[in-house]
């Protein structure tokens, strides 16, 4: 007997439902980390897809004209991202070139150490989290971060949000914000917005403590550097330069 459309769909129903169930389950890890292949990222130096994806998904306001930018992820020239690597003989491929920077979700985060209300804390799976209900806006964490990853809301951000995403809250004036490794997306089984949006697949996100994971393999097989590791912060963003 020939297979009708309905029959075909019924055939797929069970496996599809199972797949959907799997997809909806949260992504978990013992230690989340990210590897950024700076060479892939440099293929299109003007590309800002990850920045746009992140800032759009999280209602990050646009204060770019002022000295009061709020940014979760952005690009810095190589020498600024890695000041200890600065030399007159930096290879041309890297000299002055833009490198993606954001919160390193350090294993030994000084920002967490100094927060007086635990409005920022380190989750068991490695994310350095933010609680915008508890933050008193003292900006001690901003002073403590050696990477300049944190932004304070000097004014009400809402008028400066280009396109409001209703699926994620905004913040209010007077609190500090930063990249949260898209914890809300991880809970829904999705990769961080920046990782998903990269056309070159330059951002690889995964479990550092899972043997054989993509991040583990990359770190094992390629030489990677981290930002200011000598400070003992144990940053979890690795760069292939």
């Amino acid at each position: 007997m020939s297979l009708t459309r309905t029959g075909f769909v019924r055939l797929l129903a069970a496996p599809l439902a199972a797949l959907a169930g799997r997809l909806r389950a949260a992504l978990t890890a013992r230690r989340w980390a990210m590897v950024i292949d700076a060479r892939k990222c440099l293929k299109d130096q003007g590309c800002v897809k990850c920045i746009e994806a992140c800032h759009r998904a999280h209602n990050v306001p646009d204060f770019s004209e002022s000295g009061r930018q709020v940014k979760w992820i952005w690009k810095e020239p190589f020498e600024r991202a890695f000041p200890s690597q600065e030399s007159a003989y930096t290879p041309e491929a890297l000299q002055g070139k833009p490198v993606l920077v954001f919160c390193n979700h350090c294993d030994n985060p000084p920002c967490v150490r100094v927060c007086p209300t635990q409005a920022t804390w380190k989750r068991e799976d490695g994310l350095v989290m933010m609680d915008w209900h508890r933050c008193i806006g003292c900006r001690y964490c901003v002073a403590a971060c050696p990477y300049g990853s944190r932004s304070f809301n000097w004014l009400d951000p809402r008028p400066h949000i280009r396109r409001l995403n209703p699926d994620f809250p905004t913040r209010t004036k007077g609190v500090v914000e930063k990249c949260t490794f898209c914890d809300e997306r991880l809970a829904k089984g999705q990769m961080p917005a920046c990782v998903e949006s990269c056309p070159e697949k330059a951002l690889v996100f995964g479990d550092l403590e899972a043997p054989g994971s993509a991040v583990r393999e990359l770190i094992r097989s390629r030489y990677t550097i981290r930002r200011k590791p000598e400070l003992g912060t144990k940053p979890e963003i690795f760069y292939i330069v």
């Binding site: 949260a26 209602n59 804390w121 989750r123 989290m129 609680d131 915008w132 209900h133 396109r163 409001l164 995403n165 209703p166 699926d167 994620f168 809250p169 905004t170 913040r171 209010t172 914890d183 809970a187």
Partner: protein
């Protein structure tokens, strides 16, 4: 008592002034009506019994907040066995889709400002008017 007239007049003025809020609202016909809530069109039952939500929805919201933000627990099992995702905009406002017709009705009537929740959490109706 020479000043009886003055005193009585003063007392009357005082009484009138101090009861002003009461008779002003009465005259405006505002106190006789309880707030008229527009209940959800979709679901008949909330995540908790009506009596509980009436008295303690703030406690529930604070509990949801701490569970989601601080403990990364996002799934809520309601009293009638259903599972919900704990989210103000995503779950509560999915059914009570008009904050102005639901939340604000009681909050304005009681004069209790909704706490700073809405400074951050998005009321989807807000963006309907905004151009992308």
């Amino acid at each position: 008592m020479r000043d009886r007239g003055l005193i009585l007049t003063g007392l009357l003025v005082f009484l009138a002034g101090i009861t002003f809020p009461i008779w002003y609202d009465l005259a405006g016909g505002k106190t006789s009506r309880a707030p008229d809530l527009k209940r959800s069109a979709q679901e008949k039952v909330c995540v908790a019994p009506l009596s509980y939500m009436r008295t303690s929805h703030m406690a529930l919201l604070v509990d949801w907040r701490d569970q989601v933000v601080r403990r990364n627990v996002r799934s809520f099992r309601s009293f009638d066995g259903k599972t919900y995702t704990m989210s103000l905009t995503g779950t509560c406002l999915k059914c009570h889709d008009s904050k102005a017709d639901f939340c604000d009705r009681c909050h304005n009537y009681a004069g209790v400002r909704t706490p700073y929740c809405w400074d951050c959490h998005v009321d989807p109706k807000l963006i309907q008017g905004r151009t992308p």
